[in-house]
């Protein structure tokens, strides 16, 4: 049976559009990967060329310069603990905001989520004062606490929307079976909100992994700095070792990509549920 011409044209256009969008998303990454294997002179004289010889040494430079393995470990600790703390706080907060009825609930929700609109840079002086006065300057804990706090508005927004979408009847049935306040949260709502929490956690992880300004502000030594600061070690005031820096960038984006590869179904599921039903 022949397909109608309109369907063939439609399919072709759809594939052209999809491939174009895919190229738009992947070409910069591909360029980055190729550039990380070239020399600086090649990059400066012909930015879009192919390496004459693959410069694997750029990756060795990237790892040796700026104590990259240590910074990588610090980033992992900061991002993972931040995600755990943020998920813990926001899942409990969202449960109250989504499932409990009390006076001022909407105002509280608005206040908490309004933080999304405030630029983080405006918190620099208060955060710096609080962290230094509490003796946490130049520690990983300073970054963990700040990142956890900064991500609360977005996480509350996502998780609350998700929790609101869970049918009321499930909770009512649990109450009939004798579930109290804590069990309703931990055994009913929390497991059912997994996709929403994973979505919020993913955003939190990506933010914590990529954040630069606060890391620069609140730390001063290799022992407590994160990978994003390490990347900056490849550029001095006027000269940048682009090829080694690109190699370092490739190394740093691998965890984010892996995280997305393993969790993308939950992220998309969480986003669509929160968006449509919230």
């Amino acid at each position: 049976m022949k397909k109608p011409l309109a369907s063939i044209i439609g399919n072709t256009l759809k594939w052209i559009l999809l491939i174009s969008l895919l190229s738009l998303a992947l070409l910069p990454l591909l360029w980055l990967l190729v550039s990380s294997l070239r020399t600086n002179l090649e990059l400066q004289t012909d930015p879009f060329g192919w390496p004459q010889k693959f410069q694997w040494v750029n990756y060795a430079n990237a790892l040796a310069m700026a104590s990259l393995p240590r910074l990588l470990l610090n980033s992992v600790v900061v991002a993972v603990v931040t995600v755990v703390l943020n998920s813990l706080v926001t899942s409990m907060g969202s449960f109250i905001l989504a499932r409990e009825h009390f006076k001022g609930r909407d105002i509280l929700y608005t206040i908490l989520t309004a933080g999304v609109l405030v630029p983080v840079i405006s918190f620099m002086v208060p955060y710096f004062s609080m962290i230094t006065r509490s003796g946490l300057y130049n520690t990983l804990l300073a970054l963990i606490l700040v990142y956890t706090a900064v991500n609360i508005p977005v996480s509350i927004f996502l998780v609350t929307a998700f929790m609101k979408s869970i049918p009321k009847e499930l909770e009512e049935a649990a109450i009939m079976d004798g579930c109290g306040f804590f069990k309703r949260f931990s055994m009913i709502i929390l497991p059912l909100s997994r996709s929403g929490i994973v979505t919020a956690a993913t955003f939190c992880f990506i933010y914590s992994w990529n954040e630069f300004v606060m890391a620069m502000l609140l730390t001063s030594s290799i022992e407590s700095r994160t990978i994003q600061l390490g990347i900056k070690f490849f550029s001095s005031q006027f000269i940048t070792d682009y090829s080694s820096m690109y190699a370092a960038v490739i190394i740093t984006i691998i965890p984010s990509i892996l995280g997305y590869v393993f969790l993308h179904d939950k992220i998309i599921g969480g986003l669509t549920t929160g968006g449509v039903k919230g």
Partner: protein
């Protein structure tokens, strides 16, 4: 379920205590010796980093048990300047010693009582080691709250192989010779100059503009309103450079691209500071040995003025602890001693505000010292004189000027609005 919850809670607590423990160890490890934290921008890929690290190590060894200097690396200058501003606003010095680029923005740091005033600390012998002009430029309202360290001149670079290929055998000495040489290069299919309007300061074009403005309005031109005829004329000249004597991609191009054109031999004339002379990729070019450094021929009544800047100054935190203040002074005396400066200059090719007998072996780097000495006087570049915000506006409007969207007068008026008086 409860067991799992408890396990998670214990793990979380451990995660939280781990970094706290690390902090505690660091604090308990402190001894009686005075520890000075130096927030340094000469780290990572910076050519001065190895020599500076070695000097700090040498100082620490000499003063073992008494003073210990710890470098806190600051790899990104813009973010670091923000950090300095934030910490001063929060009522704390960013470190015991810290490096800044001296400009109108950082000059406002002088208003803070958290910074040490070196006026009372500089004895005649120490003062005598500094270049007097640099000390004067670092003095604000009678206060010397930062010591000049690194300086730089920003001359014009000529690829003489390219120039000779079109029959020009010497650096142009007059405006007429310059345009004649550029016309010959253009006719031969070589873009004469590397211009750019991208990045936050349109770096190479900003240098050209500074040469034009200073030649037209004198070394104190930056004190005049930006609507002064000298700036309007300089704007017309830089527009001509971009439109007629540069590569086609100059509008929007960044410093990497501008330098890349020169490295690839696509342009014959370039502008940059001494730090560019030590690059391995520049040394690898076939025309490396033919590069000549000089000023721009005078386009106005002022001649032989070299564009320069204070590249980095050193500040220190004031302290009620006299021993700590003395330790800071001891370290800075060591760091700014001619022998220490010669060591840093030797490995980096950088220029300093401290007088030394050092002369680079590298011919290109040596030419910078010669050009500096040959100049009758020096004047700041636009960024050093008017600050980052004005320079950002300059860069943003330069593209519009080059594309004929605004006139030179409009361009100057727009930049003028950003100058705080």
């Amino acid at each position: 379920m409860m067991k799992k919850s408890r396990l998670i809670a214990v793990l979380l607590l451990l995660c939280l205590l781990f970094p706290l423990g690390a902090q505690g160890q660091a604090e308990s490890g402190q001894q009686k010796e005075i520890e000075l934290r130096w927030a340094s921008i000469w780290v990572g890929n910076d050519s001065k980093a190895p020599a500076v690290e070695a000097l700090v190590e040498e100082f620490n060894t000499k003063n073992a048990g008494k003073i210990k200097v710890v470098i806190e690396p600051q790899p990104d200058y813009n973010a670091y300047e923000q950090k300095v501003r934030t910490s001063l606003a929060a009522g704390q010095a960013p470190a015991d010693i810290f490096t800044i680029k001296f400009n109108p923005t950082t000059a406002t740091f002088y208003q803070s009582n958290l910074l040490m005033d070196f006026q009372g600390k500089l004895d005649d012998a120490w003062k005598g080691t500094f270049d007097a002009g640099s000390l004067e430029q670092s003095t604000v309202d009678g206060m010397l709250k930062s010591l000049p360290m690194e300086t730089a001149i920003l001359p014009i670079w000529y690829n003489m192989d390219a120039m000779k290929s079109v029959g020009v055998n010497a650096m142009p000495a007059t405006e007429q010779q310059m345009f004649s040489a550029f016309d010959k290069l253009k006719a031969a299919g070589i873009a004469p100059t590397s211009q750019m309007t991208g990045d936050t300061n349109a770096w190479t074009s900003m240098i050209w503009f500074s040469h034009f403005a200073v030649s037209l309005g004198g070394p104190n031109v930056w004190d005049k309103p930006f609507t002064d005829p000298a700036f309007v004329e300089a704007a017309n000249l830089i527009k001509r450079m971009i439109q007629e004597y540069s590569t086609a991609d100059a509008v929007g191009l960044g410093a990497g691209g501008s330098g890349g054109h020169f490295l690839a031999g696509r342009t014959a004339v370039f502008s940059n500071g001494p730090w560019y002379a030590g690059r391995a990729d520049l040394a690898a070019t076939p025309f490396f040995d033919s590069i000549k450094i000089g000023g721009l021929p005078a386009v106005g009544e002022y001649e032989d003025i070299m564009i320069s800047r204070l590249q980095a100054n050193i500040c220190a935190a004031s302290s009620k602890d006299a021993d700590k203040e003395q330790a800071i002074v001891d370290f800075l005396k060591f760091l700014t001693s001619p022998s220490s400066i010669a060591k840093i200059a030797e490995t980096s090719g950088a220029m300093f505000a401290i007088k030394t007998d050092y002369r680079p072996v590298n011919n290109l780097q040596k030419q910078f010292y010669d050009a500096n000495e040959a100049a009758s006087t020096t004047a700041f570049d636009l960024e050093a004189a008017l600050g980052a915000e004005v320079t950002l506006e300059f860069a943003q409007q330069l593209g519009a000027l080059a594309l004929d969207r605004i006139s030179a007068e409009e361009f100057c008026a727009l930049v003028d609005r950003k100058i705080e008086r």
